[in-house]
Amino acid sequence: MQNLIQLTDDQLVALYSNGNTKAFDTLLSRYQDKLYSYIKFVVRNRDLADDIFQDTFVKAIVTLQKGSYTSTGKFGAWLTRIAHNLIIDYFRQDKNENTVSNDAQEYDLLNDASLAEANVEDTMINEQTLRDVRRLVDALPDNQREVVFMRYYQDLSFKEIADITGVSINTALGRMRYALINIRKMSVDNGIALSLAV
C-alpha cells in the first residue's frame, strides 16, 4: 500500500483494471472524503449522500472494469461528474436559480484575483459569523450552492466546474455571480455582517 499511495490516479486505475484490488482501495481512500463532502454539501442529507456516494463509485467500478474509462489525468473530476449527474437524477426539478434579478445589483465580484485569492487563513474571523454565512450558503438554490462549493472548497476553475456540471463557462460564472448576490441580499435581509473581524 505504501508504494500505491505514491502512484498517480491513472496508474492506480490501470492496476485496478488488471485485477489489483489494493489499487482501488487506494483510489477510494484518496477521494472518499473530498467526494463525500461535495455530495453532502449539495444534497444536505446524510443518508442520501451515502447513497449517491455509493452509486457514484459503483458506476466508476463498473466503468473501470469494462475498460470504458479513458485516462485523462482527471480522475477526481470524472468522479465528481458522475456524482453530479446522480444528484441531478435525484433532484430533477429545475429550481429557479434567479432568486435575485440579474440587474438588481451590478457587483463585479469575480474579476480581481489578488483580492479573491487573499489568504484568509491567518485572519481572525468570528466563528459565529462563519456559521451565519454557512447558513446563507446553505439557503442558496442547489445549482448555485454546488458552484460555490466547487469553487471555494474544491478550488476548481470555472472551466472545470463547467465541464463537470455540463454547462457553459458563462453559465457557471453566472451561477456564482447570482450566488454571491443572493448571499449578500440574504445577509442584508437577516442583518448579518459580511465582514472580516479585525
Binding site: 477510494l28 472494469q65 484568509v120 462563519l130 456559521r131 462549493f149
Partner: protein, 47 residues
C-alpha cells in the same frame, strides 16, 4: 459603485470562502466503504 462597496464585496467573497472551508461535512459510512471495497473485488473476479 464606489470604492467602499467594492472593498466590501471582495471581503464578502473571502468570508464566504472561509465559511465554506470551515464547515464539517462528515465522512461516508463505514458500511458503505466496506461494501465498495467488496464490490470492487468482486468485479475484479468477474472480469
Amino acid at each position: 459603485m464606489d470604492q467602499t462597496s467594492t472593498t466590501s464585496s471582495y471581503l464578502s467573497e473571502n468570508l464566504i470562502r472561509a465559511a465554506v472551508r470551515s464547515g464539517s461535512y462528515g465522512q461516508p459510512a463505514q458500511k458503505t466503504l466496506d461494501f465498495l471495497r467488496n464490490f470492487a473485488a468482486e468485479m475484479c473476479n468477474v472480469a
